[in-house]
Amino acid sequence: MAQVAHDASAQVGPLEVEDVELYHPKTFIGKYIWSQDAKVIAIQYAITAIAIGLVALVLSVIMRLQLGFPNTFSLIDPSNYLQFVTMHGMIMVIYLLTALFLGGFGNYLIPLMCGARDMVFPYVNMISYWVYLAAVLLLVASFFVPGGPTGAGWTLYPPQAISPGTPGIDGGIILMLVSLALFIVGFTMGGLNYVVTVLQARTRGMTLMRLPLTVWGIFMATVLALLAFPALLVSAIMMLLDRLLGTSFFMPAMISMGEQTAYDGGSPVLFQHLFWFFGHPEVYIVALPAFGIVSDLLSTHARKNIFGYRMMVWAIVAIGALSFIVWAHHMYVSGMNPYFGFFFATTTLIIAVPTAIKVYNWVLTLWRGNIRLNVPMLFAIGFVFTFINGGLTGLFLGNVTVDLPLSDTYFVVAHFHMVMAVSPILVVFGAIYHWYPKITGKMLDDGLGKVHFWITFLGTYAIYYPMHYLGFEGLPRRYYAYGETAFMSESAQDLNAAITIAAIIVAFAQLVFLYNLIRSLTKGKDAGHNPWEATTLEWQTTHTPPRHGNFDELPSVYRWAYDYSVPGAEHDFIPQNVPSEELVAARSEHQEA
């Protein structure tokens, strides 16, 4: 039962949140190119991220062709294979998912959902995008330098990352490191905005505990990113110095191409500690926004409040905090002190508890809901299914003993694709189907959306579920070809071929999505302001798409974001800015008096 506080007679004073003076663009370029409007910046981020993501998708198809049909398709040699592995991984994790969730959804949704006119530092926000674009372009440039992009694997482990025998040690690795450094600088500018906007620019009545979980997820992910990306920056700077000036931060005495090198005494394991100190939080930088968004999708389309909101918030916070003390579970077989294994296995399995709570609460949100299987909802439930699978296999790899035979095999590849590639990308799709009507004013086509969903959901499961079993058999990852491997069964190669076919089908299904995105811009049905009958503030704007400044008048918030199916209410949803009748009555009484 929705309770109504009885001190509601308190007068609603003037806005405590100052109404900011917005920058007023006059020209087309000012509006859409050098724009300081977070919504335009969001779209710029999203388009760039999706474009570079498509490149990475093509790379993965080429790699799959090599793995599935090693003797038939002569597209790449071992150098290209490693280069594609590296670029695919780095692009997908950093330049697509991180940028899309935080730069894309963060920019679009934070101000709207908090009830702000814009980000608090719009100019810095604009610069953030252009720095990101420069980072992307530098990364792309590495395809065109002599020697090509780096093939060190997305983890860029030294010494191999900068030693002959690995492709791309001339220009590729340098461009990669510089591009990462730029990305971090650009992200920090954006990240300051996301955090400070949530802290400072919430509209009146929007208490922290009334924030939609989307904002919570993006907020916590940004905090993690702000604190964790410096670790990547530190390792990138130190590796650049090793490569360019010949210092020995990470580089040990070693033989290279039959010759002694000038390096001496450096520690490759130090790099791994720094890298994973960033790398593990990175997993949650991608996952937390997905967690948040999916909570809102499930709640909206199940017409039911999210179950256990407070527990959900605390789970996000707990996961965020714990994610800083689990990093070395990526390093069980790295040669670090083996006794660390006890500590990191324990912390890693502890983090499973808040994660499990989130899963339970998603499922319990469906319980006794009134579930509308709209396309965003299909993706959301698809996410929960995929994430359960990927999360549970994490318990294998997090537990140091179980990890031992599985580490560096296809089990790892299957696990992390399931949990941090397919799961978040399903959320991305769900979120785009959900918010596209607000962003453009048009609905995406339902039929095409369903085709897209079914192929993507079933196809990715067909790719990655069987892949775990290749890992059990012991197939190592990052192999260009298996040739004659004694213990590998012949049927394993058939499975590899089947996985490749599934991967190609899934890749082509994305064209349906792109077609839908473009076609619906002009041909889509009109969406109206609130097609999903949702409660959060972004659906309550007077214009769709929202104009620069978001709201005509900043809304006041009276309730949390999950007032669906409130008993006794006229509709099955009450937007956050709707005062209850009692509240209105109380206020008018007050005014009369």
Binding site: S74, M254, A302, L349, R368, L378, I388, N389, R478, Y482
Partner: protein, 463 residues
């Protein structure tokens, strides 16, 4: 409805796949059955959660699908339920974690009295060292590694003199005796993995890491590198052969000690001259080769490579394949070299020949060949000069028709697939990149442009 059915089918399908899948853990060959047990335990716990939660979700999707006339329940939270679920999850997690930690404690504690060996990784092959009869390893350091001291042994360390050095991808272990395998890398990161043993560990330059195990089944097990180490990563293979004690002892006795290794007599060119007489009939008096007789140029090729190939011909590793027409001609000739000293001598004589440029006989697209050669150069050197540390012979300035024949042989598995060919499989795997029809000609055409390269021959005739 369809959606819920799909979810249910996926759950059922996943479970059936698990039980019917032909792809599962390889048969265990070590004492680490406990690792398999922890995997199975984890499977039961996670499998239970997977089935229950997903079926519950599918049930919700069916039961609570949208009806205009119905309202969802309004229930912000249920503290009791949430704490119960948290508690149960914690118990499940602890049930998986605790056994894992106990097993890990065993994994990191090497039993007293375990044998020790050392596995050494290097781009992209393995070698091994045994502590010798005194049971103590001599000191080593990466800085000391040279072509003549590939293990980086400290020459004066008394503990090192009887160390047995195994310059081969294959090592033997006695069955049922615990062994600690120390791991050391000469260059980049590698990882020593024998799937059937279950344990694995990275090799880190500058550190010595370890694993320990007791092999329990006699047999041959493939060693794989499982840490990305460059473009030869996938071809970095070796063998662990688990022997009965007798067989192991016989093998052990054959391995040279460091002292023997260091005192190896150089070949005597004069003595070799006589032995070369029979070779010169085909390879020519100056080792320049003869196309008509299908005998390649051998002048300018490096000692270590000539030695390996002669031994391979002698032991039937090379020249025994039924389709290796020319190799089969060579094999009987080598029998005239009665012992290792004879081989050393004849090589010493061959090394006195001038390294003359060869005639180009193959036309190909050298530009396309250059792209292919970026892979080859990683081992053979970008000037085709050959690099001993990578076990890659010289390619530049050698007969192009011979290179082409050999590349075809590697591709077809005529060469390089013999079980005792330690470095051939790597080349055979690599030759698989020559996919289109003319690839062999293209890459050979490019190698032709490299010309006679910086050879170590004293009397090298440069362009």
């Amino acid at each position: 409805m369809i959606f819920a059915l799909a979810l249910i089918l996926l759950v059922i399908g996943s479970v059936l796949f698990h039980f019917w899948s032909p792809w599962y853990l390889t048969p265990l060959a070590s004492n680490w059955g406990m690792i398999d047990d922890t995997i199975n335990l984890t499977f039961w716990v996670t499998g239970f959660v997977f089935v229950v939660v997903n079926l519950f979700m599918a049930f919700c999707v069916i039961k609570f699908r949208y009806k205009k006339t119905r309202r969802a329940e309004y229930e912000p939270e249920n503290k009791k339920l949430e704490w119960w679920l948290t508690g149960l999850t914690s118990v499940g997690v602890a049930a998986m974690l605790a056994p894992g930690l106990f097993v890990w404690a065993e994994i990191v504690t090497v039993p007293e009295g375990a044998d020790e060996i050392e596995a050494i990784g290097q781009s992209w092959h393995w070698s091994y060292r045994l502590p010798g009869d005194d049971g103590k390893f001599g000191n080593v350091h990466s800085r000391l590694v040279t072509d003549d001291n590939p293990f980086g042994m400290e020459p004066d360390d008394p503990n090192g003199q009887d160390d047995r050095l195994i310059e081969s991808n294959e090592v033997h272990l006695p069955v049922d005796r615990p062994v600690k395998i120390n791991l050391r890398s000469k260059d980049v990161l590698h990882n020593f993995t024998v799937t059937q043993f279950r344990v694995k560990m990275d090799l880190v330059p500058g550190l010595v890491t370890y694993i320990w195990l007791t092999p329990t089944k006699i047999g041959e097990y493939e060693v794989l590198c499982e840490e990305l180490c460059g473009i030869g990563h996938f071809a970095m293979r070796g063998w662990v052969v688990v022997d009965a004690q007798d067989d192991y002892d016989a093998w052990y006795a054959r391995q040279p000690t460091y002292a023997q290794f260091a005192a190896r007599e150089p070949g005597n060119a004069q003595a070799g001259q006589a032995q070369y007489a029979i070779c010169s009939a085909c390879h020519g008096p100056q080792g320049q080769g003869n196309r008509v007789l299908n005998a390649p140029k051998i002048a300018g090729q490096e000692t270590w490579y000539l030695r390996r190939q002669l031994k391979y011909y002698k032991s039937g590793v090379r020249g025994a394949h039924p389709d290796d027409t020319f190799g089969r001609q060579m094999a009987p000739m080598v029998t005239t070299l009665v012992d290792d000293q004879a081989i050393e001598n004849v090589i010493a004589y061959i090394r006195t020949f001038p390294d003359l440029p060869v005639e180009t006989t193959i036309a190909g697209d050298a530009d396309r060949g250059r792209n292919i050669y970026t892979t080859c150069g990683a081992c053979h050197g970008f000037a085709g000069q050959g690099i001993k540390a990578l076990n890659a012979p010289r390619t530049a300035g050698m007969h192009d028709w011979y290179l082409a024949t050999q590349l075809h042989n590697f591709k077809k598995g005529i060469r390089g697939r013999h079980r005792d060919d330690m470095y051939g499989p790597q080349m055979a795997d690599m030759a698989a990149i020559l996919k289109y029809d003319d690839a062999v000609n293209d890459v050979v055409a490019y190698i032709n442009t490299l010309g006679p390269s910086a050879s170590t021959t004293d009397i090298g005739a440069e362009e």
